[in-house]
Amino acid sequence: MIGKRISRRALLRGAGGIAIGLPFLDLMVRDGAARADTPPIPQRFVVFFSPNGSIRENWTPTGTETDFTLSRILAPLETYKKNLIILDGVDNEAAKHGPGDDHMRGMGAMLTGTELLPGATQGGCCEPAGLAGGISVDQRIAQVIGKDTKFSSVELGVQSGSEGTVWGYTAYSDAGVSLPPENNPGNVFDRVFAEVGGDQSALAKLRAERKSVLDAAMSSYGSLSPLLGATDKQKIDAHFTAIRDLETRLTATNDVGANCVKPGAPTLASYKQNDAFPDVGKAQMDLLVMALACDLTRVATLQWENSVGGTRFTWLGMDRGHHDMSHDGDDVTDTVEKLTQINIWYSQQLAYLMDSLAKIPEGAGTMLDHTLIFWCNELSRGNVHSHPNMPFVLAGGTAAAPRPLQMGRFLQYADGDEAQHNDLLLSLVQTFGIQDTTFGNPAYCSGPLARL
């Protein structure tokens, strides 16, 4: 091999894109200093959300568990067939209970396995509701695999709306505490990559300043808390904890990964315009992949639209909004075809994300082998607003995880109680070595998902 090291900083300064060739791999060492032992390969978890249900007859593969043919919707993932687990027949039981309409309940329960809190958001039917009633699976996983990175998790949106309501969020750090997705790739870049490749002495000064300021601010909450009534105390204590967590994260130095190349700042005219949707999505995925490669985070959510999202897929020749179309009956074959096309498009986006991860070598394979992606949806089918047979796909790999999943399978579950949604969420948590025995509302969890 070439007998000369290039400094991490030199590399960070010069780079502009995410493409990185194999020769770089052996040139890099982590964080400037040569290490005798190779650091363990990071485990990663990414949520990939698209809304308004799918079209099951064009989604479900045919064949057996290990010998199957992908459907039209999933065909773009053909290259990565051995990196997929397609789950057919998981029922989102928690989404059938509690306040809120079907979209709201589906969205809240999707990653939390809980009923919604009571609240004031009025859906299309039923009692009004608040936000989800528990921690989301990505955040539970982040508590463990995200504790050593600069960001325990990163929440990205692609024209996600409905802020302030359950329709607008996938991730929750606690019951009723949502983590809003950032829709602006420019803000993601500024926030996530702010310290990568910067002036190290200026960064050290900023960290020291922030520590002084946050310590002092925190003391105002600490001294107030013991004087307050129970309700107010809970609020002030939560604020105290949030500042403490922020300080821990911000004052940590980042040990950038060997594959880290600081991307260029996104240059999008507008991230809000409907027709910019595909470009925004690509920009967010590029940033996400490099945030993972730089080991700035190991957990992320990528939220396309929001529950009841009304994006008009004009680049596929469609004028009507996604949610509007999803209400058409099955007899409107033109709409069924269009909704199929939308889901094919999302499948292509997932393929792009997997392509990007597969281009970055890591260990004996690529980053794709160490990144588990959960493609989820708040509904099964849009026009019936149902929650059985959720269109869920696990993609990527868990090769070095404590309890690796065997990928390359098509798992079909019988109708009824065989495959509970919360069992799947528990399995995801356990895959990363977390010893939990239940997830979400325990009433809807009977243990890890059978056969997974």
């Binding site: 309409d101 079907d102 979209h103 009571p118 609240g119 004031a120 958001t121 009025q122 859906g123 299309g124 039917c125 039923c126 009692e127 009004p128 608040g130 936000l131 802020e163 302030g164 309501t165 750090s173 009723g176 505490v177 949502s178 983590l179 809003p180 020291a208 300043e209 922030r210 002084s212 300021v213 946050l214 002092a216 601010a217 003391s219 105002s220 909450y221 001294s223 107030l224 013991p226 004087l227 307050l228 009534g229 129970a230 309700t231 107010d232 105390k233 609020k235 002030i236 939560a238 949030a242 500042i243 967590d245 922020l246 209400h327 058409d328 009956g329 007899d331 026009n383 019936v384 607003h385």
Partner: protein
């Protein structure tokens, strides 16, 4: 939402419809709660007549207390919770504290609205994202104030006397930001931060103190303990400093000004008379306009208006740029009534004044208006009455291609009569009846009345909403539909104005004379002012407020004065550390 995938009659096949009878009107009789999980929470209130107790329609006086009862009792304020600045208040506060009008809080996560407002204490939770935004914003604001407006926060000469100036800055700026004098411990904390920065230079010390203060609890929250209670006392008056903040956040939704601070220092915010005098002064300040606007926007849900779009095949003269103009028209009218016009609830509901520019006037067919600036006009009073008949509200409460009688009726029922309706049950198809080129809207919606199960709910909405049929789905006046004369008769059953009316102007006049509407407005303002739902303990406060509102012929500024002078605003419960609030 939209359960059925096929076609069929609206409101058909209702096997399980049970929610509209008899408890079809929710959340009255003391039922509205900040925490909807509590028994009797919003939407699960008592059935029956909203006319309860001594105050007609008062949600807060189900016990029927009289004025004499209240005079004989010590104050019994409802619970008061720590209130965090919401985005609007944060922006206003940094404007007044730092001279920064950049409205940085627009980047914060939005509040979850509760009871219709964005300042409900219980709903304002703290998320990691918000705390990070607080830090980044504090850093930006601190840099900016040093670059642009340093003298606003540093009044002394740091070159002449650095140590003295440090103390002056910390105590002066700290007291304005915390809205009360600092404790010694707080001065010590800020001094430590200052000194860490002053190792670089004086202004770095200033910057770090500003950053710290803007992230500290006494700035971001309105912390209240009240006066020290005497032995056995369970209710105490607020301190003058706490009262100064309550008043400034009520009337300006911002920090106190110099005069309020002076009154607080002198301890002169301790009687209803002194408080009322301050509120009257504060209402003369332009900042009060913003607060009325912020209330009206939320009460009338005007945020829904700016984004409306219409099917131009049905409404060919409508175009999207008219929506923000309609919003302005309505907002200018509301502001005019309160601050220049008669000032009363009656005028809000019945005045035929409006504000148009050339584009809007052309759209409505009003002559004599030119230019893009809005000008005051007087409209035909047989067609126009108050905010209800403005094109904006009518278009907002309209479908893309037709009117929306159900939404219009629901709006009147919920926003003006304070009678929240139960949502439709889960097993119902919600789809307006098919458009018709021959039938009138009233005829198309007839199924709502002929099918018993539909009627049990829709009789509360449709007979009101169909009274607005003279206004099409895009807000234009019309006298015919599909060649037929409009029948705009209706009635407001289950209310204190149950008789029939003919058309929106007649309805607006009836609403203006309704004690239930007056009480509803007072109750909405109570919720906005106190950041919480009224409780039975607030019954005497509501009684007193309603009486003063009535004595002043329902003058809206007087309503604010009355709220500030009320027991619930001046007093708080004594809460032991860790105790239930």
């Amino acid at each position: 939402m939209h359960r059925s995938v096929g076609t069929g009659l609206v409101c058909a096949s209702l096997a399980l419809l049970s929610s509209c009878s008899p408890g079809r009107i929710g959340a009255l009789g003391g039922g509205a709660q900040d925490d909807p999980a509590s028994p009797g929470g919003a939407g699960t209130g008592k059935p029956g007549s909203p006319m309860q107790g001594g105050v007609p329609g008062s949600p807060a006086n189900p016990t029927g207390l009289t004025e004499a009862d209240c005079l004989a009792k010590p104050p019994t304020p409802g619970p008061s919770f720590l209130r965090r600045l919401n985005r609007f208040e944060y922006d206003n506060t940094v404007r007044d504290l730092l001279g920064d009008s950049s409205q940085p809080a627009s980047a914060f996560p939005p509040e979850e609205k509760r009871l219709g407002f964005d300042n409900n204490a219980t709903a304002l939770q703290v998320s990691p994202a918000l705390v990070e935004q607080y830090m980044l914003t504090a850093e930006t604001l601190a840099k900016s104030v040093l670059a642009n407006n340093r003298s606003k926060i540093v009044s002394c000469d740091s070159a002449a006397d650095a140590a003295g100036c440090e103390t002056t800055f910390i105590t002066e700026f700290g007291a304005r930001a915390y809205r009360r004098p600092l404790t010694d411990a707080e001065v010590g904390t800020l001094r430590t931060v200052f000194d860490a920065g002053a190792a670089t230079d004086f202004d770095t010390g200033v910057r770090l103190v500003v950053e710290t203060v803007l992230q500290s609890a006494p700035f971001l929250y309105r912390v209240e303990f009240g006066a020290t209670p005497a032995s056995g006392e369970t209710v105490v008056r607020l301190t003058s400093w706490e009262m100064a903040s309550r008043l400034s956040y009520l009337v300006w939704q911002s920090m106190p000004d110099d005069e309020l601070f002076a009154k607080a220092t002198a301890g002169e915010l301790d009687t209803p008379e002194r408080i009322g005098e301050q509120v009257k002064r504060m209402l003369e300040d332009p900042k009060a306009h913003d607060v009325f606007a912020h209330f009206h926007d939320q009460w009338l849900k005007l945020d829904l208006l700016s984004g409306i779009d219409k099917d131009t095949a049905v409404f060919p003269t409508f175009s999207a740029p008219l929506a923000p103009l309609m919003t302005s028209e309505t907002q200018k009218f509301l502001d005019w009534v309160v601050f220049q016009g008669p000032g009363t609830l009656d005028a809000l509901l019945t005045s035929n004044v409006s504000f148009l520019n050339a584009d809007l006037a052309t759209y409505y067919g009003v002559s004599g208006v030119s230019g893009s600036d809005f000008q005051q006009v007087t409209l035909d009073d047989t067609r126009n009455a108050g905010f209800l008949t403005k094109g904006g509200l009518m278009a907002m409460l309209g479908k893309a291609n037709q009117t929306a009688p159900v939404q219009r009726g629901k709006f009147v029922r919920e926003q003006l009569l304070c009678q929240p309706l139960k949502p439709p049950p889960a097993n119902i198809m919600i789809k307006p009846p098919e458009l018709s080129s021959t039938l009138s809207t009233r005829e198309r919606f007839a199924a709502h009345r002929t099918q018993t199960l539909c009627a049990s709910c829709h009789e509360l909405m449709d007979p009101i909403g169909l009274g607005f049929e003279n206004f099409d789905g895009a807000g234009l006046f019309r006298t015919t539909e599909n060649g037929k004369s409009i029948d705009a008769t209706g009635q407001v059953n289950e209310s204190d104005i149950p008789g029939t009316f003919d058309g929106a102007v007649d309805l607006a006049k009836k609403l203006a004379g309704s004690d239930q509407v007056r009480s509803c407005v007072a109750t909405s303002w109570f919720r906005f002012a106190n950041g919480r739902a009224e409780t039975e303990d607030d019954a005497c406060t509501m009684l007193g407020v309603t009486k003063k509102f009535s004595d002043a012929k329902y003058d809206l500024k007087t309503l604010l004065v009355a709220l500030a002078e009320s027991d619930s605003f001046q007093y708080r419960r004594v809460v032991p550390a860790g105790g239930q609030q």
